[in-house]
């Protein structure tokens, strides 16, 4: 069985999959990849199960060696990867030769990059998931971020008949369609629905919230994305009876600087929530870097649902034969010239 050896861990690299659901009554949050769309598509390029465990890197990538070789894909943000000195393109499968080194640098786009390996990272599951929850030190690789010298096993489970360069289709390699790349493109407007306490806030407070461009604060992390900008007038009292909080809930503590609860979120909270990020935009939150600027746009829950349905349809019908996609692109370029 192959392994990944960590030469350099990068700034903050953890094992993540699609997280663990169903343990809210124990206070366990779902965790999982901050940008689930990237993780899923990275895995699918390799013919993995879309929820296979991968490495999530933050802002600065690491260096990894594969003593027995591997097939990998880089998803999410571009960390300027090189494989054995040559640039390694994003969003495609690469065959890594035994002993070859993959090096990643600082991000050139968003906050998080994913190193997916064919067969997934094989690790003991905690409550059904490989995801790391840093605050409690549970899950993932010893419940912590990777360090130099760590060794991770590569699994053997993937869909062998449709894998790139498999015996049944030796020339085939997968690529993402332009429509999926559109889903993955960064956008500075985040869509939200009303939060459970929206009506606690005055019209003036909502106006501030929807008209302000907020900056992502330095101390944002997987638990919460802290925003800086015009203070939202909070309802008198500020605090309320604690209740369950949803992923993407935007709570407004006293002081009026909003916090978006994210994948490693607390499961309950006592601050009023003015809005909640829609499911179709969760992956965009995972790519927000400190100092990035965002704005909020209100949509109705039904609208949020159709956006999610549309997005899932795009992703479900994705994966193109890389060669035919390239020739299509070439053809359309020719056509536009004529």
């Amino acid at each position: 069985m192959g392994v990944i050896q960590v030469l350099e861990p990068g700034l903050f690299t953890t094992v993540q999959d699609l997280g663990r659901e169903g343990y809210g009554p124990l206070g366990v949050s779902s965790s999982g990849a901050a940008d689930r769309v990237s993780l899923r598509m990275g895995n699918r390029l390799l013919a993995n199960d879309q929820g296979a465990a991968a490495l999530e890197m933050t802002l600065l990538g690491g260096a990894f060696v594969f003593p027995e070789g591997a097939v990998i894909a880089l998803a999410g943000s571009d960390f300027g990867a090189t494989l054995g000195e040559k640039p390694a393109e994003m969003w495609r499968a690469h065959r890594v030769k035994p002993g070859q080194v993959l090096r990643l640098g600082p991000t050139r786009s968003g906050a998080r990059g994913y190193l997916c390996v064919q067969g997934g990272i094989e690790i003991e599951l905690f409550l059904g998931s490989a995801s790391t929850h840093i605050l409690s030190g549970l899950g993932g690789h010893e419940g912590r971020a990777l360090r130099k010298g760590d060794v991770l096993k590569i699994g053997t489970r993937y869909f062998k008949s449709v894998a790139p360069w498999s015996a049944s289709m030796p020339n085939r390699e997968w690529a993402l369609s332009p429509r999926t790349m559109e889903v993955l493109k960064p956008r500075r407007v985040i869509c939200v629905t009303d939060g459970p306490q929206s009506d606690w806030f005055s019209e003036a407070a909502k106006k501030v919230f929807y008209e302000t461009t907020y900056r992502v604060a330095e101390d944002s992390n997987r638990m919460g994305i802290r925003l800086e900008g015009a203070a939202i007038p909070t309802p008198a009292g500020g605090e309320m009876t604690s209740e369950g909080v949803a992923l993407g809930a935007i709570q407004v503590p006293e002081g009026g600087q909003p916090i978006i609860l994210f994948v490693d979120q607390q499961t309950t909270g006592g601050y009023p929530k003015i809005a909640n990020v829609i499911s179709a935009d969760f992956h965009r939150l995972g790519q927000l870097r400190p100092r990035d600027e965002i704005r909020f746009q209100r949509v109705e829950p039904l609208g949020a649902r159709s956006m999610l349905v549309f997005q899932e349809m795009v992703l479900a019908n994705d994966l193109r034969d890389r060669r035919s996609l390239e020739s299509e692109a070439w053809l359309s370029k020719r056509r536009s010239k004529l």
Binding site: W200, P301, E312
Partner: protein
């Protein structure tokens, strides 16, 4: 977007509210009229202070019992597409697969469960004793709480360990049990600025609640002591020492006993 059923009895007095595009909150009473002592209504004005011990009020106790009953029902008869449940004092957050269900459909399912709430029998509450070494480096805020409430440290310890607490729910981080209700004379506000790191096992108080930090996390509760008991262990079948509905008592121990117990449970 809060709405109440026409047939209130049928729905066990529940109201529903959309929390996000993939979750629905069920409230068993008006959330702002009960609960934590420092909670106040949103638009100014004085909270109804007739209730001295809001967590022990019949409204909150009944609401919390309904939360536990609904949770138990939904755990016994899991619904495909309902992904997670987050119980709290008087509410339950139901997280679902938004590709499968709309809010209305989830509400319909919940309505079905709610009609059967009266038939649910909650298990006999377990009684759990948690040994605590109070004061000193383990309880850095003991003296301040004593000063705030004009009593001695010994009296604070005596009071804190004199009552039986109810586990209203687990939340915040894995295994963190919200315990209530704190004796009235111990009620003290949170720290003005939270600590960056509270050691695991720390026993704290905030308003009329008390609890034990299972992990070294940031926290704003005032720390009275520390327990050597591990509140959450991944290598234990039931994971969390406490579950919703348990009764808890704190038993004062000295530093020597703390060290001995810590060794046996390491």
């Amino acid at each position: 977007m809060r709405y109440t059923f026409a047939a209130m009895e049928m729905a066990a007095g529940a109201t529903f509210r959309i929390a996000s595009d993939q979750s629905l909150l069920v409230y068993f009473d008006q959330a702002m009229e009960t609960g934590v002592a420092e909670a106040r209504p949103p638009q100014g004005g004085e909270r109804n202070r007739s209730e001295d011990r809001p967590l022990q009020s019949p409204i909150t106790l009944q609401a919390n019992e309904k939360v536990r009953k609904l949770l138990q029902l939904m755990e016994l008869e899991p619904v495909e597409g309902v992904r997670n449940l987050h119980p709290a004092y008087c509410s339950l957050l139901v997280k679902f697969d938004a590709l499968r269900f709309s809010h209305n459909e989830v509400e319909g399912i919940l309505r079905g469960f709610l009609t059967r709430l009266d038939q649910v029998k909650l298990p006999e509450p377990r009684m759990v004793e948690i040994p605590v070494c109070y004061g000193g480096e383990f309880g850095p805020d003991l003296a301040e709480v004593a000063a705030l409430r004009r009593m001695t440290g010994a009296q604070v310890i005596e009071l804190h360990s004199s009552v039986e607490y109810l586990v209203y729910f687990l939340g915040f981080v894995p295994g963190f049990a919200y315990l209530g209700e704190l004796p009235k004379d111990l009620v003290a506000p949170r720290l003005a600025s939270p600590r960056r790191k509270v050691p695991a096992g720390s026993v704290g108080i905030a308003a009329n609640q008390t609890g034990v930090y299972p992990f070294a996390t940031p926290g704003g509760w005032r720390l009275l002591g520390r327990t050597p008991v591990k509140m959450f262990r991944a290598d234990r079948k039931e994971l969390s020492l406490l579950t919703i509905g348990d009764r808890v008592r704190f038993a004062p121990i000295d530093a020597e006993r703390f060290a001995a117990l810590e060794k046996t449970w390491a």
